[in-house]
Subunit: 173 residues, 2 copies
DNA sequence: CGATTCATGTAACGGGTTACATGATTCG
DNA sequence: CGAATCATGTAACCCGTTACATGAATCG
């Protein structure tokens, strides 16, 4: 909830936008950062306006469906800074779903677990390549930092897997 | 759902257990791996038995509340191996909540964002220390691999933050 | 004798996703 | 002229959490 709000408010900090525009942007440019879906975005924008953080203006171009243009207001900016500082100072305390598999690996013979891990490795490498190709956003913007962080974590993942596979391979001989 | 099932089935692979026992184990020993709560575990165990993956035996010691002892059956073992292989071969495709903050960092003056990041760093270091103190489970078990993975990722997080803070610090001078 | 442990759950709620609905417009 | 794009939503559902309920046994 709060993460969703932070994203939406952050996007509105740059400029007022309507929902469709926001959703397009998220899908096209933020897929590496968030997986927020359209109905969630629309619903969250509604809540934010109900709570008085953003204002709505109706707009219409020609005969197109009317669109709701959302603008962050003073109240919303305060809230945004609050959420932002909280986010920046919070550690990443997450659980990796992949750890579950590792934990039970011993129940499989190495002939099965090793190829599986190799598949995991190669898929992670693919992800890494894809994300490395996302265009850079100016010199040293926050957006870039976020992308660099994701890359750093993926690289850590890859090198961990390579190390582990090597070790497993040795013990199997 | 599937992650929860994988954990529970995996725990039952070692030995038949009752719900309370399982929940205790998760709380005490798997807090670094999963955050599954008791009601979720009980409910998932129910579902697994309904689907015919585990069997239930009622037991009573003295006047203690009767307990349900769950045992994984042949069917369940098949399912377990299936989930395990899928997990082992899947890449970690996750979104870091912390990336959201990074993305919008530019909206704050460095005097505010820098201390926030430093706080994030120090909290991550604390987490790292705590997890490094979890006792080792024999030579090279899967459980250890999982812990080592978590440590590796936390170390990557820490070094990324250190690097970024240093860079920010320089540009602020 | 009060607090903690043992043991299992239910009910309500929250957050988010999927699938569906609508209807005009522009593109090929 | 059919398909994709523009634009916004609703309804049903799923997964999981929090808070609550129960009651005996053991520990300090």
């Amino acid at each position: 909830m709060e993460q969703r709000s932070l994203i939406l408010l952050g996007l509105l900090m740059s400029q007022s936008q309507h929902g469709y525009q926001i959703n397009e942007f998220i899908e096209r440019n933020l897929s590496a950062i968030t997986d927020m879906k359209k109905p969630t975005a629309y619903a969250t924008l509604d809540k934010l306006s109900q709570k008085g953080y953003i204002d709505i203006q109706l707009e219409q171009e020609g005969n197109r469906p009317t669109r709701k243009v959302y603008s962050i207001n003073e109240n919303g900016k305060q809230y945004f800074y609050q959420l932002l500082l909280k986010n920046l100072s919070s550690p990443e305390s997450m659980n990796y779903q992949g750890d579950i598999g590792l934990m039970f690996m011993d129940f499989l013979p190495i002939e099965e677990s090793l190829p599986a891990l190799q598949e995991r490795l190669s898929k992670n490498k693919d992800l890494l390549e894809i994300i490395k190709q996302t265009p850079s956003h100016g010199e040293e913007s926050g957006v870039n930092l976020a992308i660099e962080h994701k890359i750093a974590m993926l690289e850590a993942e890859v090198s961990f897997l390579e190390k582990s596979i090597k070790k497993l391979d040795l013990t199997s001989e």
